[in-house]
Symmetry: C2
Subunit: 306 residues, 2 copies
């Protein structure tokens, strides 16, 4: 029983993995597919963007049947054109569970167009949610949606795991008379009453574990992040250009912009993505590392386990 | 001058190449992308179908800027979902030349939906042509469009190069007094009048060269091909299943169906594509070879030079 609870908790902690399925900018290259990031949790997989070719990128790494939610940042082709093919493949695999797609204002219209463009043969419900500047709660975690600046409706997302109660302190628990099925009762009800008195779950567990926090910008020029995004474990920031001269007046960010943002919100780690074919990734990495200690230029299939 | 003419003729003959960019059925696998075949001619590239991921498949093999026409067989995702991404990439490359897309009845509506599904930023005209049972002439070649049976509007295409005049017989030409700029004049006007009499181009060229003929079925259950498709150099036939039991009542063909069709229309070579992940390709190849001598199971990047 105790072992079960511990294993479940361990699984929850260990099974969070970020997989960069596509890290290129605008169009695929031989080395990079276009934008798609998978967040693998214990019970499901969340996708952030799903550019053309993403389903094929998943074949060696992601169990497609576990995808429950797709979060689209904006409707440039390199961020959403992989959706219809993925949805058709899920239907060929006889999926029955509904699938939720979140995206900026206009998403319902955009996605209805793409679903009407061919004979899709879907076998399950697609639920489309337009989001812009809000917090969506999913039980174990919430997703903060924040507007970004990309010249068209566009949002970023922050995966925000709720804090968890600390682990059971077995010695302390046994000293207070908690054993066997009483652990389960404590887990469920938060307290049990023994002949020796009432025991609350907080009496026999260690300090609460802080939930993980991951911010993904999608495409944007530099913005001031809302206070709610402060101190993420990881900031995934687009870095399409190396400097202002290259960026010009496009609605994109540079490597220095991304590093500045990571400092401003006190990110534990910065991962740069949406990498432009014109640059040598080593050069980008060198620049990023010189500006922010824990910076990493993503590549396809790069994984981070949290 | 003579050399120029010969080289041009040689180029025309040698520069026809079929490249199988995607040979899988329904969904991509690690080994196979979904349907896309490029026909590289001297002056342009024609695409037959363009499933998701096709633009990335092209990166090592096809000059995308040379694509002038796309022929779609039907609107199942694995045959057309690569179009919007490819078109956007051409726009990023600042294409100005119009692009023609041919497809079965309903294509205008389908393609308009997909173009309305995001911010495409196209820089050139897309001209959509609905075709079903007709011959479209393009000057050097024509394309025969023939209906197939796939449960939804679907067509096959036959690339049909026009016969070409024979090559110059230099010795014969010189004997009749043709030299220098007279070759050019003959090429342009078909005849020249010399003091010794009139010389027609047929007098100094070898036998006409038969134009190449390539038939592509797209997805279909077995059909009787029209007489106009007889004796192609190559028949590219779908072979989604290995036998009738596996095929069931789907609108697809089997390896024996494809071989039977190749015999019926007297094809020079049969290439099987739309290969189902459930089969060992070696087993399919063995079966095909036993039923039709010049049969080949396609794989991604397989090329045929004609």
């Amino acid at each position: 029983m105790v072992a079960d609870i511990l294993i479940n908790t361990m699984e929850k902690i260990l099974n969070m993995k970020i997989t960069f399925l596509g890290t290129g900018s605008s169009r695929p290259t031989v080395e990079r597919s276009v934008s798609c990031i998978a967040l693998t949790l214990a019970q499901e997989v969340l996708l952030f963007d799903c550019g053309e070719g993403s389903q094929r990128q998943m074949l060696r790494t992601i169990r497609q049947s576990r995808i429950k939610k797709i979060f689209i940042t904006h409707f440039h082709g390199d961020h959403y054109l992989g959706i219809p093919g993925l949805l058709m493949t899920l239907a060929l695999n006889r999926r029955e569970a509904p699938l939720d797609i979140y995206g900026p204002p206009g998403s319902v219209r955009m996605l209805k167009h793409i679903f009407a463009s061919g004979y899709m043969g879907l076998t399950y419900d697609i639920r489309i949610h337009e989001v812009e500047d809000e917090v969506v709660d999913f039980g174990d975690y919430s997703v903060i949606v924040f507007p970004v600046e990309h010249g068209i409706p566009a949002v970023g997302y922050c995966y925000c795991e709720h804090d968890r109660r600390g682990r059971f302190d077995i010695q302390k628990a046994e000293k207070l008379g908690i054993r066997g099925s009483l652990f389960k009762q404590l887990e469920k009800e938060g307290e049990v009453t023994l002949s020796s008195g009432k025991v609350c779950i907080e009496d026999v567990t260690g300090p609460a574990e802080k939930g993980k926090k991951i911010v993904y910008t999608g495409d944007t020029r530099p913005i001031d992040f809302p206070e709610s995004l402060r101190a993420p474990d990881i900031l995934i920031h687009e870095a399409t250009f190396i400097d202002d001269a290259d960026r010009g007046d496009t609605f994109h960010s540079t490597v220095p912009d991304a590093c500045k943002a990571a400092k401003a919100i006190d990110a534990g780690m910065l991962i740069l993505t949406h990498i432009n074919i014109r640059y040598d990734p080593d050069k980008l990495q060198h620049l990023a590392s010189s500006l922010f200690a824990h910076a990493m230029v993503a590549y396809d299939y790069y994984e981070v386990v949290l």
